[in-house]
Symmetry: D3
Subunit: 207 residues, 6 copies
C-alpha cells in the first residue's frame, strides 16, 4: 500500500508512473489521507499529517497488506508508523538514501527551487528546466548521486540522468523496491528499535 | 504559557513545583491539550499529540503570551510550533541540554525504569528510589550531569543532586528559565531555520 | 553474476540458498575466482583476491550480464570493480548495511567466533549455536538489527531471527535484491564517484 | 561578578550595556584583571590572562558572590576556573552557544573583520557597518543565528537583528542570563567533570 | 626499503631526492614491483598493484630490513602489508597526515590537476606552475598545511613553501622519517590491529 | 630544547631516559619553568603553568634552538607557544597521537591510577604493576596501541610492551622524534593556523 500523505482527490500523472518499477506480480494500491495538508513542505505540514498517516498504516496492516510505503521525501509519520505495526513500513527518503549509498559517497536531493509542490505539473517543461539547473548546481558543488526532492517529480529521473550523466533516483520507486526487498527477505523494522506503543488512554477527534 | 502535551483533568503535584524557578514578576499559565495521549512515551504518542500542541501554541501567540514552553522530554511538536509562530517556543529537552552544556561534557537523562509516566506519583518514595538506582548506574558509566527524564518528575532534582553529588536538572525548570532568557534578550527562533509555513489547503477534523 | 571471491571447486550448500530471495524471472549465475585465497578473513586475503575479482567483473560485463554481486562481507575489490565497469556492482556488505538502515539505527554483524570460514559447514548445529550465542551478546550491547558476518552463513538468518526476535539479514540475499533494484531503476554506480581508470601500461602475470 | 579578562582602567560604554538584560534584583559587579593583555585576540593572549582570571574567580567565591561570568568570546580560563571553585562559572562563548542551540541549527559568530578589539569604539558607525557586512556574508553562507564575536560589541545586537532579520545574541547578556539561571536552579558545574585541583606546591610570582 | 608500487625501469630524478631527509647512518634501498600499473591514480590501480607490493614487503622482512616505506599517496597495499609482516610498514599518505597534525588543523593535498603522473617530469616548470595555482586555490578555501599529492613531486615542497608561506610536506620524506622514528622507538604496527593472516590455501599465478 | 612545565630542582631518572631515542648528533638540553605547579594534573595546573612555559619557548627561540619540546601529556601552553615563535614547537601528547596513528586505530593512554605524578618514582615496581593492570584493562576494552599517560613514566614503555604484546609509546620520545623530523623536513607550525599575536599592551608581574 502506497500512502500519499496529503489530502487530494486524484492521483496525478507522476504518481501513476511510480508503479512501473515494481515487478509484474507485485500488486500496488494507492491511498490519500482524509485530513492533513494538500502538500508537505514544512515540519508543520509533516506533523499535521502524521496522525492521519499512522491511521492509514494501521488500516493497511489490518487489511492484510504485506508492506506500506509512505510516499514523501520528508518521511512524515514514518517512525510512529514503524512503532504502530509489524509489517514493513518504508519512507521514500530513507529508501532513497539507502540505495544511493551503493552508488556514490556524496548524495544530494534536487528540487526545482521556487515551484511549490502543488504547481509542479502546471508547466512540466519549466519544472524540468529548473530542476536541471538546480541539479547542475549541486553537481558543481561535488554531488555524485542525485535524488529527486519530491515524489511529485516521479517520471523525471530517467531524462535528468541522461542529460547530466550521474545516477538520479526516484524516491517513490526506491521505496517500492525496498518494500519488495523486505518482503522477499522476510524482515521488517526491528521491534527493539521501534517498540509497540503501550496501550493507554488516547483521545482523538472523530476521523 | 506552559503546555502539558497530554490529555488530563488536573495538574499533578510535581507540575505545580515547576513554577518555583521563575522570578516573581513572571506570570506562568498552564494548559493541557484537548486531544492526544494521556502520556508521551513513544514517537507514536508524540506524533499523535503534535497537531493539538501546535494549535495550543498558535492560540497562546494570539492571546498575547510572550513565550511558550512545551513541557515534555520528547519535545513533541516543538519544531512545527517554532515554524508556526513568532514568539519563542522552548522544548524541555532542548532547554535542559542547552543548560547542561555549561555544567559538564557527559550528560545523561535518568528515568525510573519500569514505572510508566502515569504511575510516577503512585508511590513517590519508590519512584525516587528507582530513580536514584538508575542515576547511580549512569554515573558509573561516566555521566557528569543528569537531566530528569520526564517533566512528571519535577521536584526530585534537588534531593537527587544532594544524594549523588552531581548537578541534576529539572527539564521544566530549564525550559521556563530559557524562555525567560529569550524574552529578556529580545530574541526568538530564527525564521531562516524555522520558516513560516506557506498558506495552503489544510483539512483537519473539528477540534 | 554472483562472484564468490575465493578459489574453490564447488558451491557449498549455503551458497545455493542465496538464490531463493530473487524473483523467478531473474537469472543468477555463479563463479569463483581462479587465483586468490580459499577464504577471505583479513585485509591480506581481500587484497590478494582483488585483481582476480576485478577480472571476473570485467568478463561479466563483456558477457552481457546486467549486474554483478561480489558475495563477501569484506567487500573485496568492490570499489575497483565499480571503477572498471558500467554495469552495477554490488558488495554484500554495503548492500546489507543499506537495507539495515531502514530497519533500525544500531546494526551489528554477527559471526560464530572461533570457527574459520572453511569450517562453517563441518558441524552446522554447532555453527548455529555459536552464532546464536554471539547474537545474544551483541543484542545485550544494544544491537537492534543483525547482519550475518559471512556469506558462508547463508540460510541461517531466518532461524536465528525467529529465536532472537530482531531482524537478521543474509548478506548475499541483500546484495542480490539491491542488484535487482538497481537494474529495475535503471541506475548504476556514479562515474563521478568511480571514474573509469585511465588507459596506461599495466603489466600483470598471465592469468 | 563579571570579570573582564583584560587590563584596563575603565569600563567602556558597551560594557555598561551588558547589565540591562538581568532582572532588577540581580546585583552585578565588574572587575578587570591586574595582569595580562589589554585585549584577547589569540590563544597567546588567552593563556597569558588565564592565571590572573582564575585568581579573580577564587576571590569572587571567597567574597560571597553567587556566580561568576568571564566576559570574553574566547572563554579564557573558564575550564580552570570551573575546577577551582564551587560557585557557577559561566563563559560568554559557551553561554551564547547554549542559548543559540534553541534558536536554530547553524550558528555563526560575527566580528567586524579588520578592526582590532581596542579600536571597536573609535568609530562606532564604521564598526557597525563592517559588522553588518560580515553578518550578511555569513548569512549568505547559511547561518541562521548570529552571535556577536566579542563582548566589546555589546549594544549592537538589537540593531543588527532588526536590519538583517535573524536573531543576534550578545555574549555577555547570554552569560549573565545563564548565570542567573544556574543560581535559580541551584546547580553549578559538575565536580566529576571539573574536579577540585589537588593541593600541591605551586610557585607563582607575586601578584 | 622504499617500495615504489609501480612497474618501471629507472628511478626518476624526484625519487632520488626523497633520500635527502634521512640521517647519514640510515641506509635506504629502493625497489619497484614486477607486476602492476605504471602509475597509481585510481582504486583500480591500487588494487591491481597490492598483491605485488605485499610480496615485496614480505621479501624485505626476510632480507632483514628494519622497516618498509610504500611510497605512494594512495597507500596501496599498506594495510595488507601491515598484517603480513612484523617490521614497521609505513605508507606515504598516513605518514604525511601524522606529521601534518602537529602543524595545523586544516590539511590539504595538492596535485597539479590535469597532468598525469607519468608526465610530471615532462615540463617541470609547468608542473610547478600548475601545482602552485592549485595550492593557492586550496589556501583560499582555508588550508593551513599542504601535502604534495604524489611522491612523484618530491623535490618541489621547499620551493612551494617559500612562495606560498605555509608548510608543505613531501610524502616520501615524511614516510622515511616516520619509519626511522618507529625503528628508534622500538615499535611496529599493533598485531591486535593488524593480525597475522591465518595460514590457508592461497593460489596465486607465478610471479 | 625540552621544557618540563613544572617547578623542580632536579631531573628525575625517567627524564634522563627520554634522550636515548634521539640520534647521536642531536643535542638535547632540558629546562624547568621558574613559576607554576610542581606537577600538571588538571586544567588548573596547565593554565597556571602556561605563561611561564611560553616565556621559556620564546627564550629558546632567541637562544638559537632549532625546535622546542613541551614534555607533558596535557600539552600545556602548546598552542600559545606555536603562535609565539617561528621554530617548531611540539607537545608530547600531539606527537604521541601522531605516531600512534600509523600503528593502529584504537589508541589509549595508560596511567597508574591512584599514584600522583610526584610519587611515581617512590616505588617504581608498584608503579609498573599498577600501570600494567591499567594497561590490561584498556586492552580488554579494545585498545590496540598504548601511550604512557605521563612523561614521568619514561623508561617503562619497552618493558610494558614486552609483557602485554601491543606497541607502547613514550610521549617524550615521540615528541623528540617529531621535533627532529620537523627540523629535517624544514617545516614548522603553519602561521595561518597559529598567527603571530599582535603587538599590544601586556602587563605581567616580574618573572
Amino acid at each position: 500500500m502506497v500512502i500519499y500523505p496529503v489530502v487530494s482527490d486524484e492521483l496525478n500523472k507522476s504518481q501513476l508512473l511510480g508503479k512501473k518499477f515494481v515487478r509484474t506480480d507485485t500488486k500496488v494500491d494507492y491511498t490519500f489521507i482524509e485530513y492533513g495538508p494538500a502538500s508537505i513542505e514544512s515540519v508543520y505540514d509533516a506533523e499535521m499529517a502524521a496522525p492521519f498517516i499512522v491511521r492509514k498504516v494501521e488500516e493497511a496492516e489490518k487489511n492484510g497488506y504485506d508492506a506500506v510505503v509512505i510516499s514523501c521525501m520528508m518521511d512524515p509519520g514514518v517512525k510512529a508508523s514503524k512503532e504502530a505495526v509489524n509489517i514493513p513500513v518504508v519512507g521514500a527518503r530513507e529508501a532513497s538514501y539507502a540505495i544511493a549509498s551503493v552508488l556514490g559517497d556524496k548524495v544530494s536531493t534536487v528540487y526545482p527551487e521556487g515551484i511549490p509542490v502543488l504547481n509542479l505539473e502546471d508547466d512540466p517543461e519549466k519544472t524540468f528546466r529548473v530542476l536541471r539547473e538546480n541539479a547542475q548546481k549541486v553537481l558543481e558543488e561535488g554531488a555524485q548521486v542525485l535524488i529527486l526532492g519530491c515524489t511529485g517529480l516521479t517520471g523525471m529521473a530517467s531524462r535528468l540522468q541522461k542529460e547530466i550523466g550521474v545516477p538520479v533516483l526516484e524516491p517513490e520507486g526506491c521505496a517500492l523496491k525496498i518494500a519488495e526487498t523486505l518482503v522477499d527477505l522476510g524482515v521488517a523494522q526491528s521491534k527493539v528499535a521501534y517498540p509497540k506503543p503501550a496501550k493507554k488512554k488516547r483521545v482523538l477527534p472523530d476521523f
